[in-house]
């Protein structure tokens, strides 16, 4: 007599636990809607300080990517066209990008000659345009950050593409 009741208890208990767990899954899956759009204000702030990166943005970059700000590096920034989120990609090694490799070798186009890198003059955006750029329709772009060997300051170029 006790055994069937115990089995019913186990059976229904497992079902109840599964249902509660599924409900928790549903609640967790609703987190993006509750959180709302992920804004990109911090990223825009980074670019406004073009030249010398300091403050929390620089600390963020270092903590996320382990980057040394005195080194030349390349960041890939990927933005999904549909999602209101913006993400920083892994820092790509210099050797992984042919354009940057040329720069690094010192015998190719120089940092001060962006046209030689294939970046048209109009591709060099100002900080004001960058703000519009972030919220625009561009899907993917790359930000090259390196130190100008002549000026000793950081130089930033942007290169962007649209998803086909």
């Amino acid at each position: 007599m006790l055994m069937p009741r115990l089995l019913w208890l186990v059976e229904l208990g497992l079902l109840a636990a599964a249902v509660c767990s599924a409900a928790l899954c549903g609640w967790l899956a609703g987190a993006p809607e509750r959180a709302g759009p992920v804004h990109v204000e911090e990223l825009v702030g980074v670019e406004r300080r073009m030249g010398v990166w300091m403050g929390p943005e620089a600390e963020l970059l270092e903590s996320y990517h382990g980057l040394a700000l005195m080194d030349m590096y390349l960041l890939a920034i990927v933005r999904s066209a549909e999602k209101p989120s913006l993400s920083w990609g892994h820092p790509l090694g210099v050797e992984e990008d042919p354009a940057v490799s040329v720069l690094d070798q010192g015998d190719g186009p120089r940092l001060t000659d962006p046209e030689a890198l294939g970046l048209a003059a109009e591709d060099r955006r100002t900080a004001v345009e960058w703000s519009d750029f972030c919220y625009g329709t561009v899907d993917r772009w790359r930000m090259f950050v390196y130190r100008d060997p002549e000026g000793g300051d950081y130089v930033t170029y942007f290169q962007w593409t649209r998803e086909p």
Binding site: L28, P32, V38, S87
Partner: protein, 87 residues
Amino acid sequence: MMRSLWTHGLVCAGAAVSALIALVALVRFRVDCNVSAFEAGAYWLDVPPDLLSAMQYLDLVVVATLILSLLAAAVAGWRVWMEVRSG
């Protein structure tokens, strides 16, 4: 006996629905948040804490749901088999 079988059947159906809900929630969340990009190393600069928590725990909760559903269905199935065998 028929009533008992029906009840076991309902338990199985409930377990299946729970497992389905968990899987749909997981897929929906991963697509909504582009979790694969996050896991590949692309970090959002300003991930809200709730979203980060959900990202960390959802996989675990889904696995727990699947295990519990499987156990519930297995117990129900085993009891059906026992009752049918005993006539």
